[in-house]
Symmetry: C2
Subunit: 422 residues, 2 copies
């Protein structure tokens, strides 16, 4: 995480394709006066009954641990993402990361409890598991179908007297791979999870950023038994500096309403001991912007969405142009949304390589090994195209091309030398 957020300051002259940041260029819509207006809109919204009527002093105090804008957030994930959320089951968190960090130990309280994760997966999920003392097990990549891989993992863990309790998933535009699970895959996974009483932590930070094709319903919308906790964030849609995210619990946990209430209370209690509550100033800003935008963010993100789509197209075009001579050895993904694509290289690419690439070729990319639980991702890298300009994409892909050409040449020389010696 530190690498992702801080590496660019180490190489200020390099273009960073490392961090999945939203683009800065739309932050001028959020100048200080706009934020102030948003707070005032929330404050004056006594009609909507969103709590603004309590006044400014109330806002500056300690407040409800579970949050004060739950109704607006429930409405937003309903409208924008089709998730059947309800205010009394929404927990407002200090960024989505806190939601992950609270859910993992709550769902896996025993030492034999295990969180399942894809391999690779979001570094913040593995890190939160480590930081909260929860064991994480990677799903096997040799099963072509995720549902089968889950089934296998559950059984293998059971043989070691361990219990899979939850699975962390990013079904839409996965971080780091960009992959989207189709509706059938989602339903199959839900079936396996229901059978084994596995809770799905569905992290949907990127779902709104779809550039082509039809959206697939979130797993929380397909969930019929009460197995999906839906994690959402305003970091990509509004601003990461707000640190506002949310966890939306299902109506019941596997049909048990009391179990859901008890999990809810456990999460609220845990939150009170980690951050007390989420900044009510930040919550008020989010609330005001939601009210001003009719409760949804679909239109609000449109300019950014168009920008990201164009960035993706330019990056794919540049990759085609720079790497077509190596197309037998190098492959890359063509994501239909999100902030990332991945490259498969014919050589290992670790932290030392990222360093050299940044220093010599002025482009910062992220080794996929950072997101992995084994060495299966050692030859892959992630490129984020969200926070760069078209010009930066062109120079950085060219730079990456130089790096790759050098590595391939070295490889060739080693092969020849080896051949001469052999």
């Amino acid at each position: 995480m530190n690498f992702l957020n801080e590496v660019s300051s180490l190489f200020p002259s390099a273009v960073s394709l490392a961090s999945g940041r939203p683009s800065d260029r739309f932050f001028d819509r959020l100048n200080p006066q706009v934020l102030l207006n948003a707070v005032n809109v929330y404050q004056n919204d006594s009609v909507g009954g969103h709590g603004g009527a309590h006044g400014w002093a109330h806002l500056l105090q300690y407040g409800r641990t579970a949050g004060i804008i739950n109704e607006l957030v429930a409405q937003q994930v309903q409208c924008d993402e089709g998730v059947p959320a309800s205010a009394d089951r929404v927990l407002i968190t200090s960024g989505c990361q806190e939601a992950v960090a609270l859910c993992l130990p709550a769902l896996c309280p025993e030492p034999s409890d295990v969180l399942l994760v894809c391999n690779p997966t979001y570094i913040g999920a593995i890190g939160a598991a480590k930081a909260t003392g929860v064991a994480a097990a990677a799903l096997s990549n040799s099963e072509p179908c995720l549902a089968d891989a889950i089934e296998l993992a559950v059984l293998q863990l059971r043989q070691k007297s361990q219990q899979a309790r939850a699975i962390y998933l990013i079904p839409d535009f996965d971080n780091p791979t960009g992959r989207v699970l189709d509706a059938d895959e989602r339903r199959n996974i839900l079936q396996v999870c229901a059978r084994h009483r596995l809770v799905v932590l569905e992290d949907n930070a990127y779902g709104l950023f779809r550039y082509d094709g039809d959206p697939v319903p979130p797993m929380a919308a397909l969930d019929e038994v009460g197995s999906v906790i839906y994690l959402s964030t305003f970091s990509k849609t509004i601003s990461p500096a707000l640190r506002v995210g949310a966890a939306s619990l299902p109506d019941t946990m596997f049909g048990d309403a009391a179990a859901r209430r008890s999990l809810w209370e456990d999460l609220v209690r845990r939150k009170s001991f980690v951050t007390v509550n989420t900044s009510q100033i930040a919550q008020a800003i989010v609330a005001g912007l939601l009210i001003q935008n009719g409760g949804r963010l679909g239109d609000w993100i449109r300019p950014a969405l168009d920008w990201y789509r164009e960035n993706r197209d330019i990056m794919l075009c540049e990759l085609d142009s720079v790497f077509s001579p190596f197309s037998d050895q190098i492959r890359w993904s063509r994501p239909s949304g999100g902030f990332f694509l991945t490259l498969d290289l014919p050589f290992r690419f670790g932290a030392d390589c990222a360093d050299e690439c940044a220093r010599r070729d002025h482009v910062i990319v992220t080794p996929l090994s950072f997101f992995a639980l084994d060495n299966s991702q050692d030859c892959r890298i992630r490129l984020a195209f969200s926070a760069v300009t078209p010009e930066q994409i062109r120079t950085s892909v060219t730079g990456l091309g130089h790096y790759v050409a050098r590595r391939l040449e070295q490889k060739l020389l080693r092969l020849r030398d080896g051949g001469a010696r052999g």
Copy 2:
């Protein structure tokens, strides 16, 4: 924690002496325009080199995990509290509670590691230990001297193959007891802690709120070996809604500079997996207010300080007047600062009693058993005088008087009945 922050909404007609909130009446100094100005002051402070020069878009992005206002915060704890803090050892957290929640598992990583706490102690410390899976052991109250109690606890744990690794302390105006440790006690504790390599987590939320007498130097200022992590917050001095606190590490951990750097990195890594970073908007507000106030908050809090002092005096006066007829059975503390005093009652006072007292006598008080690890505090309550008006103090102490009189009468009747039967 939920009780403390949310109970008042259950009994809206009762006066709450439950939560240690700052008084709302000084929040009008923090109207939205003031906060906006503070952000602008920080933004424009390129001279001070406090990072504002990077501009607004930079502020709205993801940012440095350890914080962006570390220099100003180091300066503030130096100026206001005499703590030898340095920016490169300050971690900005999402409220002081996050600092506790990060430090505990970092200092007590092994299952046999134990956190020592006073009994009673701040509920957030016990809760954070529970939430992060760290074992907590209460110091014995039968040792009159805290240093001896620590020594005893260390040895007793060792016999059970457990290691005391840290102690959580509020040396100034303790929550919940209001107690202040004198300089000798602090030095003795530091000696014992140095001998056993125990890290002191010094939580100083209330130190600036001293109403009489001379301040005692914080333990971090008396620390000569590198054993004290100093925890500070802007929740009481500015506003809880900012959710900005800080942990200031010593220069070395017990003389070992590498150990300090390694602990620092561990804390930063943990923070990245819990909240990523602290809201940069909230940090900018704190920074702007600090710059506007010459880097310190001593003058800023003066009006509140005077108000709290008067509240304390009024509460003591009311307690004297209402409870003097029972002075042989009821005792209360006379704190020289902070937000709390405690009452010792001649009967048990649990959650059910707090409920009855709130419903029938319209005053909400906190049972000290909520802060305890055993039943030693079952007959004590905490009264917070910070967030009430003089009028509310009068009516609430009168209400508490009615409750106590009723309980004493019941006790007397039971005694008589018992006597008649006996």
